[in-house]
């Protein structure tokens, strides 16, 4: 690290900017987990695995069809939506309201299947995409921002915006939000709960699928990333407030930045110390999340 | 075993700025059976929860045989000699009737066979003995209510707090419960404070009634006096006639 304080500030700002950009994608990933928990009270222990499935689908689209992940994103999200919808209808629905350990074991089995399906199809090697702008960058003052990260973050922002429109402007969206805010309320209003649950799981899966496609622009994929993403998503939603949608996005930014800054201040291998330390503190002192209103 | 004297001295409690109970005071002498009545939301269960240690009163004091118990934890309150039931019954659903009551009895002895024997005796008294190997989850509501009383009794209290144990019982079952409590009180001298909506049970059991409304005590006295009290009539009949 440079001894020049000016240089250090630039390095730090650079890390924060990078962290914010990555954090957008993290936020989108965690949003899926939060929506699912908010509505169904099911903790999706296969979330990281669904992320990795999204990454692999985007990689397949690139490898076989030459599609940029930004282009294949809608298709990847749609595929994950269908997967999530069907999974909820067939496997998860009977477990809603059951003790946590049963849901945990069920989703663990799903996670094992997903990760090994990826392994069987794509092998244990890492895969990435080579887009033609992969070495481009934007210069803002002294900061150099990778084009891939900027595009990924912008796309994540667009997806989050679309979700916001869905949740505020459409009937099923409002119903899901109502269900997330007030679990009983939605039941009382007489919404078709089974349909709503499947739709919610589909949307949660689509979120994380989209996040996976975008993440592939930034990192290479291999099957064993899955558990790290599951943990990362847990950290983010707890910090943002489990079940809170805006909290998930903000939590994503916070964790993205804290990882990047920890990478600068400490060794890169210590970068998750911040995240897990934050998780412990938030769990103990503010389990409703840093950004949630006290309920 | 003899009953303990409960003295409630001007207790008050607010939740998020809303006063649930303010300045409530009453006495339950040792060996007496008193009732706490009032419309829904009058603060009865809040009073119970303060006595049972679920939360500490903001103001005032609660004394059991002249020892302050305000602010103690529920398990410490139980140890001090107060047994309670919950308005929404909370049996240990996955455990058998006998296991449920044995757990209560273990408050008095660490010897499991001894606790089990004590539990059996209480179950016989309450007419639950033939169901002792049934898990609580499979009991009917009246049986769950009786189980709730049995478990509270098993902890060996000198004061029993009963939160609507008659609600949902049929008249004959109510009479059985009333008879049981009367007999228990006569036999052991245990003090009983009950919250009850079933007036038939209140009149049959209690020697003295405290009436709460909007978190405040509006009347107290013998059942006959209370039922003639204009303030009480206003609260009850006034509501019904509108």
């Amino acid at each position: 690290m440079s001894a020049d304080p000016g240089q250090f500030v630039v390095t730090l700002l650079q890390a924060i900017a990078m962290g914010l950009l990555t954090g957008m994608v993290y936020g989108l990933m965690a949003l899926g987990l939060s929506v699912i928990f908010g509505v169904m009270r099911v903790v999706n222990f296969a979330h990281g695995e669904m992320m990795v499935v999204g990454m692999y689908l985007a990689w397949l689209a690139f490898d076989r069809l030459g599609l940029d992940p930004l282009v294949s994103l809608p298709a990847v999200a749609a595929a994950l939506f269908v997967f999530g919808y069907v999974l909820q209808r067939t496997v998860i629905n009977p477990f809603i309201g059951l003790p946590e350990h049963m849901q945990f074991m069920l989703l663990l089995a799903v996670a094992i299947l997903l990760v090994n399906a990826c392994l069987a199809i794509a092998g244990p090697d890492t895969h990435g995409v080579q887009v033609d702008y992969m070495f481009d960058s934007f210069n803002i003052g002294p900061l150099v921002l990778d084009a891939v990260r900027v595009y990924a973050a912008l796309a994540a922002l667009v997806v989050a915006g679309l979700l916001w429109l869905f949740f505020t402007r459409t009937r099923p969206g409002k119903a899901i939000r109502a269900a997330a805010d007030n679990h009983i309320g939605a039941l009382v209003v007489g919404l078709d709960v089974r349909q709503l649950y499947a739709l919610t799981f589909g949307i949660g899966a689509a979120c994380v699928g989209a996040a996976g496609a975008l993440m592939l622009l930034i990192v290479q994929v291999h099957p064993f990333l899955a558990i790290d993403y599951t943990l990362l998503a847990f950290v983010i939603v707890i910090v943002g407030g489990l079940g809170s949608m805006s909290g998930a996005l903000a939590g994503g930014l916070l964790i993205g930045v804290s990882e990047a800054v920890a990478g600068v201040l400490l060794q890169p291998s210590l970068k998750s110390v911040f995240s897990f330390g934050l998780l412990i503190i938030v769990l103990l002192l503010r389990p409703q999340g840093l950004l949630a209103r006290r309920s | 075993m003899s009953g303990a004297h409960l003295a409630v001295r001007g207790i008050g409690k607010s939740f998020r700025g809303l006063r649930a109970v303010s300045d409530v005071a009453f006495d339950v002498p040792g060996g007496a059976i008193h009732a706490l009545i009032g419309p829904n939301g009058a603060g009865k269960t809040t009073c119970f929860n303060m006595i049972a240690g679920v939360f500490a009163p903001d103001t005032g004091d609660i004394r059991l045989d002249d020892r302050s118990i305000a602010g103690l934890r529920p398990d410490q309150i139980c140890g001090a000699g107060i047994g309670r039931t919950f308005q929404i019954v909370k049996p240990f659903m996955g455990l058998t009737v006998e296991e449920n009551v044995t757990i209560g009895a273990l408050a008095r002895t660490s010897h499991v066979p001894e606790a089990r024997a004590a539990a059996r005796q209480i179950l016989r008294d309450l007419g639950l003995d033939d169901r002792r190997h049934v898990r609580a989850v499979n009991l009917t509501l009246p049986d769950r209510k009786r189980l709730e009383v049995a478990r509270a009794l098993a902890t060996g209290p000198r004061l029993l707090l009963l939160d609507e144990v008659m609600a949902g019982l049929r008249p004959t079952e109510t009479d059985q419960m009333v008879a049981f409590l009367k007999d228990l009180n006569a036999r052991t001298g245990i003090t009983i404070l009950l919250i009850e909506h079933v007036m038939r049970a209140v009149m049959a059991l209690s020697q003295h009634i405290v009436v709460l409304h909007h978190g405040e005590k509006i009347a107290e006295g013998t059942p006959q006096a209370v039922t003639r009290d204009p303030a009480v009539l206003e609260v009850y009949l006034g509501q019904e006639s509108h």
Binding site: I280 | H133, V134
Partner: protein
């Protein structure tokens, strides 16, 4: 005599007979395996079954008895293994002495996590996440802990003068050590369940609020569950460190290791004594079955796909969870007529 009566009270005679038979069979199993081809291989499988039933039993105390979901038991396994191994490698203190330090270290960690979690009223998923967070934290810590080898790992050399005194020797030694541990923890768990503490744990598992009203000091009782569970798990960690002879933070404290601990008792039947044993036998057996199947596919049909055996395992796990929610043992016990008398059970 009275202890025997206390332990067996209410247990059907046929269940006791079956248990005796199982114990006898496990004791003589290595000798029987000698007459089989690939006996060493089968012994290694048997060792795994007994090991997972041991640590599953230890985890079950916390979750199955007291209802506190820990998804971070790798921390106790890892700490136990690391403490005993580091004492041996760095200071020459043997494992039979080191195990006490290992247990103390794990109990200290468990006490801290439990106290913080319970003091701040964390339950369910939130408590589980706290246990994960502490395990991950410890993993990162040990990655940078040079005295125990850091991320490069800690290794126990195979020594010429190795003997049972420093827990070195043939798989047979390790088999009997873990079998003795598993038998001891089985009896201990039964004893605990017939004690006041056991009843108190069940009460807290079923309803903490009602338990407290019945006079139970909930914080202390839950802490005891964590302490006992952590200490017993650490003994398993010591055994495992000396059996495998290497430790890496990346795996010793991993989420995967924590999950491994929970599988057998949940699949077998939470809160039951036979659950961890049945679950462990089933899962290790299934794992082995699918490994053989994958090998057969590779050799016979030239299908060499990575992940096939785990896919089979995952499907089996999914089916068991979906169709035997309460675990295999409660269902099996009813079938065999081993369940304790409960009139409301068919």
């Amino acid at each position: 005599m009275s202890i025997w009566r206390r332990l067996t009270d209410g247990v059907p005679a046929r269940a006791l007979g079956a248990l005796g038979l199982l114990a006898a069979l496990l004791v003589v199993a290595p000798f029987l395996l000698r007459f089989m081809s690939a006996g060493d291989y089968w012994l290694s499988i048997l060792i795994l079954v007994v090991y997972f039933s041991y640590i599953g039993q230890a985890w079950n105390i916390m979750m199955g008895f007291a209802g506190q979901l820990s998804l971070g038991h790798a921390i106790y396994l890892g700490l136990g293994g690391y403490v005993a191994a580091a004492l041996y490698v760095n200071l020459g203190i043997g494992p039979w002495l080191g195990v006490f330090v290992a247990v103390a270290a794990a109990m200290l960690a468990g006490g801290l996590i439990g106290f913080l979690g319970f003091r701040f009223s964390l339950a369910g998923v939130y408590f589980a996440l706290l246990t994960i967070a502490f395990a991950e934290f410890t993993r990162i810590l040990f990655d940078h802990f040079k005295w125990v080898g850091g991320s490069g790992g800690l290794f126990l050399k195979v020594e010429a003068d190795g003997s049972a005194f420093n827990l070195q020797g043939s798989p047979l030694l390790f088999y009997y050590v873990i079998l003795a541990l598993a038998a001891a923890v089985f009896v201990l768990c039964r004893w605990l369940l017939t004690s006041r503490l056991g009843y108190y744990w069940l009460a807290i598992r079923e309803d903490p609020e009602a338990a407290q009203a019945a006079g139970i000091n909930v914080l202390r009782t839950k802490l005891l569950a964590v302490l006992i569970s952590a200490g017993l798990t650490a003994i398993g960690g010591v055994w495992s460190a000396f059996y495998y002879k290497s430790l890496f933070p990346e795996s010793a404290f991993s989420m995967g290791r924590s999950i491994e601990v929970t599988l057998a008792p949940i699949i077998g039947g939470l809160g039951t004594l036979f659950g961890p044993i049945i679950g462990s036998a089933l899962l290790v057996g299934l794992g082995d079955l699918f490994t053989s199947l994958a090998e057969w596919l590779a050799n016979t049909w030239d299908v060499k796909t990575a992940g096939l055996k785990q896919i089979g395992y995952g499907i089996a796990l999914l089916l068991i969870v979906m169709f035997r929610r309460d675990g295999v043992w409660p269902w099996l016990a009813r079938r065999l007529g081993f369940d304790r008398q409960r009139e409301d059970r068919p």
